[in-house]
């Protein structure tokens, strides 16, 4: 049943993503000031949305894991963190590619950029922690604690970074937020792209989650077999 849903979701994701790509490169008009570079925006924003949604899932799943103690929440947190990290990397990369022709620099310590980068560092640490420890409930608890603490830190990061940048003189006069989607086709393209990335994300999450569930079950089975063998030996 769930594999049917996954398969269906995979094909839907493919179809919507192809539509989105067509719309981004052919249907949406070219922006007057920024030219062709503006089109990366249709990928940049959905990636950011997916990354933040994934990190939100990490925080909630971590909380549920500590609360209920069921491995299913830990598997969900792990799957979401991995995928969130990929999309967060894509946000930084696409942003950088856009910034070079438009701002003239690959990177600037603007408040949004800095916040995203710190988020990337925090969840990178989270994944390194998971990778550096063996699969035990202990590691799951460690990861859950780090996931929760990182999420609690995010509001303070946002406030402090914003304050830090507003006090410093702005390096760039261009405002990041104002893209000015004056053509309705741009808005529609962005919406379709958002839907495409969301479905794609859910599909990836389900795939990875199912994989981690299977691994957890396999581990448990192995432990049970080992235990049974010991008992048989004793008898």
């Amino acid at each position: 049943m769930s594999s049917m849903i996954r398969k269906g979701l995979g094909y839907t994701s493919l179809a919507v993503m192809l539509t989105a790509i067509f719309m981004v490169f052919d249907w949406a008009p070219t922006e007057a000031e920024q030219g062709i570079a503006q089109r990366i925006f249709y990928f940049h924003v959905p990636c950011a949305w997916v990354a933040f949604a994934a990190f939100g899932i990490v925080a909630l799943a971590s909380l549920f894991y500590l609360w209920l103690g069921e491995r299913i929440w830990d598997d969900l947190a792990y799957a979401a963190a991995e995928i969130g990290m990929v999309f967060c990397t894509l946000v930084l990369l696409t942003g950088s590619l856009w910034a070079k022709p438009i701002w003239g620099v690959w990177w600037t310590w603007d408040s949004r950029l800095t916040t995203t980068f710190i988020l990337w560092l925090m969840y990178g640490g989270y994944l390194l922690l998971r990778a550096s420890a063996d699969d035990s409930p202990q590691v799951a608890r460690f990861a859950a604690v780090v996931g929760i603490v990182a999420a609690l830190d995010v509001p303070i990061v946002i406030v402090s970074v914003r304050l830090w940048r507003t006090i410093h003189p702005a390096v760039l006069i261009t405002k990041t937020g104002e893209h000015g989607l004056e053509d309705p086709r741009m808005v529609v393209t962005l919406l379709v792209s958002l839907v495409a990335f969301t479905i794609f994300f859910i599909w990836l999450l389900m795939l990875r989650f199912a994989q981690l569930r299977a691994r957890t079950r396999l581990c448990r089975m192995g432990q049970e077999i080992a235990l049974a063998e010991v008992r048989a030996g004793d008898a």
Binding site: L66, M122, Y126, L128, D134, P137, F142, D153, I156, V157
Partner: protein
């Protein structure tokens, strides 16, 4: 409260007899400040901003060492197991470890501040007193964060290498606020300019002290 006092007293006595942590922290702080003098070219980069930056780099990295050491002694001979078996709350253990880490860091910082004044050609005057609240709040926040994360990192395969990877990104808001407030305080800016950064530090401290206090149970537990 008595359990808290007992653990803290044990850690302080251990430190008083061996002096290991404070000496190590002071040595690291000294070396970081020396590195910063060359990195910033102290002959040109003088003044409050460079000094505040160097001071906070020393605080973060010596603090990392302090937090690691707080659990190192417990890990040898599995002393941590004895502490966990004793009828005390893990949160009390956390509070005591936090207080010990704060004390060692504070001692090292007194040394760092003196060295900073010497290395960056500042003056021994009232401006140093104005840095005290900022440093105290920053140290408390870092000790709270690092004590919680050190308990995690020293039980993973990566070990103490993992602590900076986890702690530094999370410490960024307090680092920004601390460096700003310190450079304002050293540079003689009005109190109002410092106040908004102190607010961020207070928020950070409240958040991480309570998070550590509540979550330490999950970290310390063995199964």
């Amino acid at each position: 409260m008595t359990a808290f006092a007992a653990i803290l007293r044990k850690d302080l006595r251990l430190e008083l007899r061996s002096g290991e942590s404070t000496v190590a922290l002071l040595a690291i702080s000294l070396l970081i400040l020396v590195v910063m003098v060359f990195a910033l070219d102290a002959s040109r980069a003088r003044g409050a901003e460079a000094a505040a930056g160097a001071l906070w780099v020393a605080l973060v990295f010596s603090g990392m060492l302090g937090a690691t050491r707080a659990f190192l002694a417990e890990r040898d001979n599995h002393c941590i197991r004895g502490l966990l078996l004793s009828p005390i709350e893990p949160s009390t253990l956390y509070a005591a470890k936090l207080a010990a880490a704060f004390t060692f860091m504070a001692i090292a910082e007194i040394g760092s501040v003196i060295l900073m004044v010497l290395f960056f050609n500042l003056n021994f005057d009232f401006t140093l007193v104005r840095v005290v609240p900022t440093l105290a709040l920053g140290t408390l926040g870092f000790a709270a964060l690092a004590t919680l994360l050190a308990a995690i990192s020293n039980r993973t395969r990566m070990g103490d290498l993992l602590l900076p990877i986890l702690a530094v990104p999370m410490f960024v808001p307090a680092l920004i606020a601390g460096v700003k407030a310190s450079s304002f305080a050293l540079g003689g800016a009005p109190e109002s300019a410092i106040a908004q950064w102190l607010k961020i530090l207070v928020a950070f401290d409240v958040l991480f002290v309570s998070a550590g206090y509540l979550l330490f149970d999950y970290v310390a537990r063995e199964d």
